[in-house]
Structure formats: C-alpha cells, structure tokens
C-alpha cells in the first residue's frame, strides 16, 4: 500500500520493480515525471545551447536550476515577479532547485560554516553573505521550483574524522529549520538530503532521524557523493542508503551522471539523477554512445573519415538522420555547431533512462543491464571490480565475469586497442583502455566550475588520493 503523500504537491506511484530497481511515476505540480529519470542541469535558467522547446521535444520531465546563481542574478524577487523560474524560462514542465549549499563546498576557503548558516564571499560582488536554512528556503520559495532542497552542511565526500559527524548532525538540525521556514508546502516539495559521508553508520543515523519526520518529507536525496570517492564505496553507500529509505518516496542521488553509474544506481534502487557531465563533455567534442568505453571522442583524428553515426540506436535527428562521425569531427574540431553534440548527449541520457524503465516494465532488467555492461566493457579485462560487486548485490549476476564473459577470452580483439593497454606498475594487472574513471569526480568538476564562472573546464582531472576510510559494509 502506498502511504499518504507527505505533501499535496507530490504523488509517487511505483508500477513495477525488479529486485531493488523500480519504475515509478512521480507526479509534481508541472506534470508527471517518469522514473528512473535523468534531470539535465540548466545552471542559470538555461541549458547551454538547447532551448526550452527542444528540452520538451527531448522528453525531459524535469530540469535543474542552481539557486546559488539565480540568487545573484536576477535575484529571487525578480524571478518571483516574473512568475517564478517557470515564468522566467517559459518552461512548462518541472524544475528542481538545489539549496545553494553545494556550491559552497567549492568556496570553502572563502566560507565558514556555523550553526547559524554558511557565510561566504559572493563571487558576483565580493560581499560576505550569510546563507541560513531559512534564507535558502525563502529564496527557493520565491524561485518556485516543484522540488526544492534542504540546506545541508556539505563536506567533500572524501572528508574523514569528526567533521563528518558534525556535518551529519547539523544537517538534521538544519532540516527542521528548513521545514519550519517552508511557506509553500502545497505546491513545492522540500526534499531532505541524507548525509554522513562514506560512513554507513552515520548514514543510518541520518536516515533514522529523517524517518521520525517522514510525514512531512515528500522525497529523499542522497548527498555528499560524486566528490572523489572510490566507486566501490560510492555504489555501496547508494545501495545501503536506498535500502534504509521508505519505499513509497522518491530517491534522488545527487550529482551522478555517468551512464554506467546511473545504470548501477537504478539497479540498487535509486530513481533520480542529475549531472552537468553530458552537456559539459559535449563541449569538448565527446559524445555519449553505446560503444566500448561509453564515449566517442569526436575530436580524435581517427574519426576524420568515419562514416558511421555516433550511436546507431539513438533516435535524435543527428544519429537517425545519418550525420556521420566524420562530419561531427569537423564540427567538434572547430568553432560553431557544438550544440549538436550537446543535443545528442541529452537525447542519449533520456534514451538510456527510457530503456531502463522499459526493461523494468518488461521484466528484462537484468538482461538489459548485462548487455549494456558488455557493450561498455566488451572484454573481461575491461570490467571494473566495482561493477561486478554492484551487480552481485543487485542480484543481476552473482559473478558477472564467470557468467557472462568467456573464461579464456582472447585479449587481442583489436590491435590498436591492445597497443594502448598498459600494465599497471607492480600489479601485473592489465588496465583496460575502456576503464571508466575509478573515482567519482564530476562533483568536484562542478564545484571548480562554479569558482571559475564562465571559464571552460578541461576534461576530468583526477583528484589525488585521499586516505578515506573504507565504508563499513552492511551487506545483508
């Protein structure tokens, strides 16, 4: 039985499940959202190069906007007068705003956290500004998004020690202040963010505290990830936190956007995802595709004369319309036309979540996940351990390598690929060229991007290792 909705502004119905994975409809004031759902990020009220009309055509149900930036320009009162973010952007579907706190992690040098709130230096006018939970909610009430987020005490996910506990406890106290300040529960859903770093005990304490308040919490987010933690810890935190959360409420994993990560998170029970990755990477000529490694780096000279499309299964007008990689290489290498790759990447993400939903509905979820992983990681050597571990937990395959990859796999499938493989020093382990990053790092990308506003970022820069303690595993 579904529980009574926490606010009249939200309805969450789960239609089918496959173990932890679930397909649901999240109905918000601006229409239904089909979950699992990817939510593109329009930082300052716009997707780079893609219009609101195109976003509707791309089947986007919900778009993100950053409170932090909208608070500076044009300011919440101006936005309110223009009919909220929906009115400003002429966006007929749903919007989610963050609390504005996440961006502050990037400004830690400039900011101080006290019980009252976060004080930071405005990057726009240089003035010191205090953001309290009350102020964050007041701003978000004026921006008028369908989902708003509680201000939490954000720390980088690799932080250890007493600061993690402090942040988690403060997040709970701030949550109460956020709900007390919330003036529009009838048409805005205030989500709580589970904190606790990589420590599952702390996550559990946080969730327990939230569950006492479950009656007025319409949905839950899992925060503090995608900040440089090891993937094998990342998925366990997501999986365990999802398992702790009530089944009748949506679960949003913040800042997750790599296609592989989304597939894993869906398999362990998450519903909503947001990330700037698909758009940012497009601006560097990287297209997402169902290919080994998951990406086509169109700036590479090897595509100069490649007459295939980016992704033959993609329904976007670029792929379906037969625009070749050769042609897109020309676009990617020069100024102008970058919007085309952004468009494809969003189409890819929307298509990926649509396929996940269809697979859950059809009962073919495990088959889909395995075939997806085999596409991205075509050989045994390519499959990262954390994928195997996560799929075992999700009961998709108790041993992915043994069950789905030939035992005596011929390593040399493609000469050029073999040539690029390197032996990792000392380990005798062959590192696959298709390995996606071992760590979640786009969270930091996002933050650094905020610091250097308007400046283009280079591709992912690995974050140096930090001695984060291993999460205590709470496998059932």
């Amino acid at each position: 039985m579904e529980k009574e909705a926490a606010t009249p502004a939200l309805r969450f119905e789960t239609h089918e499940t496959w173990n932890y994975a679930r397909r649901s409809t999240l109905t918000l004031p601006h229409g239904p959202c089909r979950t699992p759902m990817f939510m593109p990020v329009g930082t300052q009220g716009a997707m780079k190069g893609i219009t609101s009309a195109q976003m509707v055509e791309l089947d986007v149900d919900l778009m993100l906007s950053n409170t932090y930036w909208m608070n500076f320009r044009p300011g919440p009162d101006v936005v309110k007068e223009l009919g909220g973010l929906h009115g400003l952007m002429s966006w007929p579907k749903n919007i989610l705003t963050d609390s504005g706190g996440f961006q502050m992690v990037s400004l830690l040098d400039l900011s101080t956290v006290t019980e009252e709130g976060v004080t930071f230096k405005s990057p726009v006018n240089g003035e010191m500004t205090l953001l309290t939970p009350e102020e964050s909610i007041s701003i978000q009430n004026r921006l008028g998004a369908d989902i708003i987020m509680a201000l939490d005490d954000v720390i980088p996910s690799v932080t250890t020690g007493p600061r993690v506990l402090e942040a988690q406890e403060r997040t709970i106290r701030w949550l109460d202040r956020c709900y007390a300040a919330h003036s529009r529960p009838h048409d805005q859903n205030l989500f709580a963010i589970v904190q606790g770093g990589l420590d599952l005990d702390l996550r559990r304490k946080c969730v327990d505290a939230f569950l006492q308040r479950d009656d007025h919490i319409p949905g839950y987010a899992i925060g503090g990830l995608s900040g440089g933690e090891e993937k094998d810890i990342f998925w366990r935190v997501v999986a365990n936190t999802c398992a702790m959360l009530p089944p009748g409420k949506p679960r949003y994993v913040m800042g997750v956007g790599y296609p592989v990560d989304i597939v894993v998170c869906v398999a362990v029970g998450a519903d909503m995802f947001d990330c700037v990755y698909p758009c940012r990477t497009a601006r560097f000529g990287t297209a997402l595709a169902d290919v080994p490694g998951g990406v086509v780096q169109l700036r590479s000279d090897k595509f100069t004369n490649d007459q295939t499309v980016i992704d033959k299964n993609c329904k976007c007008f670029i792929c379906k319309g037969g625009m070749t990689r050769s042609r897109l290489h020309q676009v990617a290498c020069q100024e102008g036309g970058g919007e085309l790759i952004t468009y494809h990447n969003i189409a890819y993400m929307m298509n990926l979540t649509a396929r996940l939903r269809a697979a859950i509905t059809n009962g073919t979820f495990p088959q889909f996940v395995i075939s997806f992983m085999k596409t991205i990681f075509p050989r045994r050597v390519d499959v990262p351990d954390w994928i195997c571990n996560a799929l075992a937990y999700a009961k998709i395959s108790s041993n992915l390598l043994e069950e789905h990859y030939p035992a005596n796999e011929q390593l040399v499938i493609d000469d050029s690929v073999f040539m690029t493989m390197v032996k990792e020093a000392g380990s005798g382990h062959i590192k696959s060229p298709y390995h996606v990053k071992d760590r979640n790092i786009h969270g930091f990308q996002k933050m650094r991007n905020v610091v250097k506003e308007g400046e283009e970022e280079g591709e992912e820069v690995p974050k140096e290792k930090t001695g984060g303690k291993k999460a205590k595993m709470e496998m059932e």
Binding site: A46, G49, R73, Q334
Partner: protein
C-alpha cells in the same frame, strides 16, 4: 570530354512595369526559391546558433550560404569525395537533406572580412578556420566538382576601401585599388571560363573531376566599391563573361557595404544594363532599408548575416513588416511617429518585461503598435516562447541561449520580411515603387533612431597594396 554537363538551373522572373523591381523563381536541382529572398548564412554547415531541428521550423531556408573555406579546411572536400557524398549529403542530417534547399557556395563570408590577400592575377587568399587558404582556378574548380553545390560564386578580390572625404590624393589611390579589384576579379572569371572550356580539364584537375560530376551554376562577382565608373566597367566585363560561357547564371554584386546608404541607388544604376536573365545577388549588405533599396534597383537574392549579427550583439528585430496595414499607412506617407527597429535586450528596463519581444515593442511604441505583428517563430511561440526579460537575464548571465533564441527570432523575422515583400510585389499595385521607397525610408528612420552598437562588426581596414 566534349562539353561539361551542367547542373539544372533555371531563373524565371518578371519586372514590375515602370520600375526595376523584379519577382522571380530560381530553380535548382534541389529547391525552388522565389525571389527576392534571403540566402541564409551558415558557419561550418550550420546556421549559426540554430540547430537543424529548429532550421526545419524555418521552412523559408531554401537557399543556404556555404563558405568556401568550410569545405577546404582540413581537406573536407576531399573527404566528401572519398565518401562519395556531395556537400549537401555530407553536411546535413536527413531532416535537412530531405528539405528543398540549395547550397550557395561563396568565397566571401558575409559576417566578416575574410578576404585577406595579397591577391595577384592568378590567385586570391582568404582566412579559413585553420589558416589562410589560397584559391586559384584549379583549386576552386576541384572543390566545386568534388562537393557539387548548386551555385558557386567565383573567386574575387575584395578589399575594404573606404570613400575618402575631401582628399583628392587619397581618393585617387582608393580608386586605383578599386579598379584593380575589378580587373583581378574579372581575371579570375576569365581563367575559370577558359579552364572549363579546355578539353583537357580532367587532366588539369588531376582527378578531381569524375564523369558524373556536373558544373554548378557559376555566379561572377561584380566589384567596384563605391565608384560608379568602376561598377560600369565591371558590368561590361560580367556581360562579356556571359557571352563567353552559358555557365554563368548570375552575378554577385559585392562590396556594397562600403557604399554610403544614400548612394546605393546611384552605385547600382550601372547594373541596369546587366544581362537581365542573370540572377542578381547582393552580398554582405544587409540592413532591411538597404535591402528594399536594392529590390527597387532590381536585385534578387541577399547574402547577409545581418540578423544573426544583431542577435550576437544582443538585439531582437521587431521592425514592421510590409503588411496590408503598413501598406495602407505608407500610402499616406512615412508616419511621423516613432517606429521600433530592434529591442535592445541588455537594457536594465527589461529586467521585469515578461512579454514576447513584439509585445514589448508595442508597449514601448504605442503609436505604431498596430503596424507590428506578433511573432510566430519557434523562439517566441508559447508554451516555451521566450520573453524579453528572459533574454535580458540570459545576456546578463552570459548564457549562450540569449544568442540562440534571438538568432532564431531574427532569422525568422527576416524571412517574414521577405515573404511580405514578395506578396506585395506579387499584388503589383500601381503605387508599389512609391510604397517600397517609403518603406525603405521608414526602415532607415527606424534603424537610425535607435542606437545600435555592433560590437562584433568592427570594420577592419586592410591595405592590400
């Protein structure tokens, strides 16, 4: 090879009696373009800031301007040939390739001064995305055979030579440079005509020409800057080129951007003796008032990126189109009340202006409100239609969607401007020339009454000598 097969090309037109105004139809292998019309500019085969799905919603985009250097950079003309694709097949996704549109290939980029020289009798040089590209008859013909655009405008020498004021010495020097550009441009034309008539053309082009290739319609370039004498001279030579070869189907009247607006008619006067069945293209010059002036002087196509450039500088076009209401108003004379030309989105007053662009203009210019038409472009149409306040916000936050949305709107506005002009020319009322003259005056008055800062349009004076 006896004679070179030509691509299908047909131009039919009629002239409004008692005037030079023409209305016509350009038929190519892939589209039919009623004239007068806008040639929609592209960069790297994409309309700047307008993705193909949106281009599809601008069905008037039937003639698309393709930059020569976009084909040569990184050897893409050879890549297209190796893939056995024409430029149209290579550049466009199906949704655009299936649409009726034609490629108009030209050397000159209407959005910038890309002809960099030094030019000599054999070759000219232009700035491409990856460096300077030298163009001679061989490379030019090789590229057009490999890529098969419907129309190819011939190479030209086009210096920026401003008209000196009260300085006879400088004027003499400037005139000398203009005359040289006319002769060099004609010289390129002569060389190309000679080459296509040469039975050894396939060998000369060293394999670039295959038996199935056809010769695009060639448009010769008519230079002459602001000098009426030079224009007369150039016209004679363009006519002579036509006599030499039936491959010449049109002419591009270039360099008009260097002519003072009030002198455009005088500078265009020599074109009255151009062979009348040539399609007449005006290149670069793009303000609506000058376009109407050019139409009054018998021009057919307009190769300009003015609407996109305005968008890039933060302006949205709202000037009145030649509707029945405006036609009736102009019959009385040019209205004395203020007429809007653009919305300057950057103005602080628009922060709370949550209305479509044209509605904003109607509110600001109450007296002319009934002359303005609500916009039906993909950027303005509800439910996702952009407001003035939204573009203001996007400009303030340096979001590229400001330019994306205003480019869509401006391009649509320009296409609607041509649609309305064609409709009124087709009606062919006896007072049409008078009304067009008054319309041009109204547009000029509207344009000059608002301060328009074209930040990206800084004119560079380049001395070729």
């Amino acid at each position: 090879m006896t004679s070179l097969a030509q691509m299908p090309f047909q131009f039919t037109y009629s002239t409004v009696p008692g005037s030079c105004i023409r209305s016509g139809l350009v038929k190519t292998a892939t589209s039919e373009v009623p004239t007068p019309a806008l040639i929609v500019p592209m960069t790297k085969g994409v309309i700047p800031h307008v993705t193909y799905d949106i281009q599809l919603k601008l069905p008037e985009s039937k003639m698309l301007g393709l930059l020569y250097t976009d084909l040569c950079d990184l050897d893409y003309d050879r890549i297209m040939r190796s893939q056995n694709k024409t430029a149209r097949e290579f550049l466009f996704p199906e949704i655009i390739a299936q649409q009726p549109n034609s490629l108009f290939l030209r050397i000159r980029d209407p959005s910038t001064t890309n002809i960099v020289g030094p030019a000599n009798g054999k070759q000219t040089a232009v700035q491409g995305g990856t460096g300077k590209v030298r163009i001679d008859s061989t490379s030019f013909l090789s590229t057009i055979f490999r890529t098969q655009p419907c129309i190819a405008s011939l190479p030209c020498d086009e210096p920026i030579v401003e008209e000196p004021v009260n300085d006879p010495e400088a004027e003499k020097k400037a005139l000398k440079r203009i005359r040289k550009s006319v002769m060099q441009t004609i010289g390129y034309g002569d060389q190309i005509i000679e080459m296509i008539k040469n039975p050894k053309l396939p060998e000369l082009l060293n394999g670039a020409l295959t038996p199935s290739d056809r010769l695009p319609a060639l448009f010769s370039v008519l230079e002459g800057g602001w000098s009426i004498d030079s224009r007369e001279h150039a016209v004679k030579h363009v006519n002579r080129l036509c006599d030499l070869s039936d491959a010449i189907k049109g002419t591009v009247v270039s360099g008009l951007d260097q002519v003072k607006p009030e002198n455009i008619s005088a500078v265009l006067a020599p074109t009255k003796v151009l062979k009348s069945d040539l399609v007449r293209v005006v290149s670069v010059l793009g303000t609506p008032d000058s376009i109407v002036t050019c139409i009054l002087n018998g021009m057919d196509l307009f190769d300009t990126s003015y609407p996109i450039q305005l968008a890039e500088c933060g302006y949205g076009l709202v000037f009145p189109l030649l509707t029945d209401a405006l036609y009736a108003a102009l019959q009385v004379g040019v209205p004395s009340y203020p007429i809007p030309f653009v919305i300057n989105f950057s103005l602080p007053q628009f922060q709370l202006q949550n209305t479509p662009f044209v509605t904003t203009a109607k509110q600001l210019f109450e007296e002319s409100a009934e002359l303005l038409q609500d916009c039906t472009c993909p950027a303005c149409t509800a439910p996702t239609g952009a407001s003035t306040a939204y573009i203001h916000h996007l400009i303030n936050t340096h979001e590229m969607n400001a330019v994306v949305l205003s480019s869509i709107h401006n391009l649509h506005h320009y296409q609607a401007f041509f649609t309305h002009l064609r409709a009124k020319i087709a009606e062919n009322k006896p007072d049409l020339p008078t009304i067009l003259l008054a319309y041009s005056q109204l547009l000029q008055k509207a344009r000059t009454s608002q301060e328009i800062v074209m930040n990206k349009l800084g004119k560079e004076y380049k001395n070729f000598e």
